[in-house]
Amino acid sequence: MRTVAVGVARPPFWLAILALTGLALLLRTLGLAAQPLVGDDVWVRETARNFAAFGWPDPTMWNHPRLRDLLVHASLGVLGDGAWGIRAWSVLLGTLSVPAIAVLVRCAGGSAAAALVAALLVATDPLHLDFSRQGINDVYLAFFPVAAVTALLVHRERRHPGWLVLAGLLLGLGLASKWNAVFPVGVAAAVVLVQALRGSASRRERAAELALFLSCLVLLPLAVYVLTYWPWLGRGHDLAELLRFHGAMAFETSTHTGYPGTKQVGFPGEVVGAWRWFVQPSWFVDYVPPPRAAAVPARGFFLSGVANPLAWLATLPAAAWAAARWIRERDRVAGWLLLLFLAAYLPFVLVPRPIWTNSALAVVPYSSALVAWTAVRLHERCRHPVRIWLAVTLVLAAFLWPPAMGISTRPTDAVLRALVSPLALDPSAHRGS
């Protein structure tokens, strides 16, 4: 068995991770307090208050789990009801997703270089950056499941039940953010469980292993998840009613076509079939019309998160190459990264309805890991093209940071219009948003 020495990487690796985390934090906090609140920010704040006080999950996203409400309600109490109170958790978890994916790549057997490039891609991705600076909770999915998978991979090597408990806690928090957390964690858990069962010497050992997995990865996440509904249960509901409520949530989620007053299906580029995410530029543009906030300029305020096309469009070729490596050479790292990417991505692709591009944040860590691993492997064969690709990717990302922070400049607006659509910065295209 190939053993990955998780805790003994050379210090420079951890220093580099620390530096990338610092970069991620800087990008996610720069000018945050002055960035006007978009519609989702305001609704997130109101929903957090309603849920914490009355267990009432409105005015927005009643059909999604409720961890965000509890967290945001707490941060509103500590940091006030402005930008920081609403967005602190997105900033924190968006930042932590950077070291998390690096550690995951290492635990899956990837090189330190691959881990660092993956972390760099996540740290600098403009769409990830955009949603790390908003109250909406999609970026939570770039952390909790990744951290849970990482804990599982550590457990695979160290076999201490504490890692499974940690994985279960993180899975519960991920599920309480959005249900799709279950896919990558579930697939990773299945593989790790099979390995553990195959390594067990007796039926008694297998039974103990199975009991440990079931308690840590089924019962514990379930309990964590249910506890996040404490305010809702405080409306007098029992667990049977919670189950029926989840039936209604599942029905709404499977048929969802937008909340009243938000962008509807068909809005250019943002509400599309998930298969498009990695074959064409993807973006999400929030628009605040002038009268809504004093900080909003006369033409309105645009917050434009454009996924870095040079990283995103490299995903499917990287996946194909990883698949070839896995099949031909039984490359375990390729297998793990591909499996996690597919587990996170395919459920979106298989859903028949269009999906808002912010949901792609749940896939970005794994796609970045695949691309990073592929780039590092290719770098062994042809250094210059890979270095040029990485440099241009970072330069393009830097051009796309200002729009993702709500900063408008002529050059960045020009890049935005060229890359996305002339409609991106046209207020009339955002009516109803």
Partner: protein, 256 residues
């Protein structure tokens, strides 16, 4: 279980793997925590259902008249009622006023200020407000057959609509609401709140709603007979008053 090759090594148990006993202890501890959490959640929910503590004059028969659903809302709130199922007997179903399209008039704002009540709750929005604040957790709405048919026509295209025989379910953001004709009414298996509105008193609906509810097996800790609702006509209001007086129900003043 089938796992793609290459991911799982065939190695045996590592030497530092915990003993069976240790694994079982961890599993038991985690399972105990999970079971305790679920039990606590169930108890918390049921303990959050707060009944009506009747004043002396309602102890024998918890039935009272009140102005409208808005007054009923204020009574429930002042009494500390929470987390309850509400059975509504009515011939109409109102939607809360959309304050964006129909904002309060200056007179309404002034009246609200004068009464010290800055929230806007009227007979149209009262039941929704009761749900928002957690006073009511689900609705069982019973309508005369013609009113039910009308209501069904209003919501026919809604994706949440779940039709039954003489009834339909229509959740609102997960809030459970069952609408039925009297013949298809299913008595809730717990003590409920009851609200009877004047538009109930038309042909096709049981003329003595409280006796009918009791015959259906409904138990309640407070039944309020509203004397107004948003679409009630003079005849329906007179009938409601006569019914309330005939039932010996006192008029319960809404606390503002």
């Amino acid at each position: 279980m089938i796992v793609p090759s290459g991911l799982v090594s065939q190695a045996s148990e590592p030497p530092n793997a915990p003993a069976v006993r240790s694994r079982l202890l961890w599993a038991g501890a985690v399972a105990t925590f999970a079971a305790s959490s679920l039990a606590a959640a169930e108890l918390h929910g049921r303990a959050s259902r707060l009944p009506f503590e009747p004043p002396a004059e309602l102890r024998e028969r918890p039935v009272a008249m009140t102005g409208s659903a808005a007054d009923a809302f204020r009574i429930w709130r002042a009494a500390g009622i929470h987390g309850r199922r509400l059975v509504v007997l009515t011939g109409q179903w109102s939607r809360p006023r959309d304050l964006r399209s129909t904002p309060p008039t200056p007179e309404e704002v002034e009246a609200a200020r004068a009464s010290g009540e800055l929230e806007y709750v009227d007979a149209r929005s009262a039941l929704f407000a009761a749900a928002q604040l957690g006073i009511v957790r689900s609705f069982d709405v019973v309508m005369p057959p013609s009113a039910l048919t009308h209501r069904l026509g209003e919501v026919a295209g809604r994706k949440e609509l779940d039709r039954g025989d003489g009834s339909f379910r229509l959740t609102f953001h997960g809030l459970e609401r069952r609408f039925s004709a009297p013949r298809a009414f299913a008595a809730p298996p717990e003590r409920v709140l009851v609200l009877v509105e004047p538009t109930w008193f038309v042909d096709g609906a049981p003329a003595d709603p409280l006796a009918w509810l009791s015959a259906q097996g409904v138990t309640y800790d407070l039944a309020l007979l509203a004397l107004e609702d948003p679409v009630a006509g003079p005849e329906e209001r007179r009938t409601a008053v006569a019914y309330g007086e005939g039932a010996g129900a006192p008029f319960l003043e809404a606390e503002k």
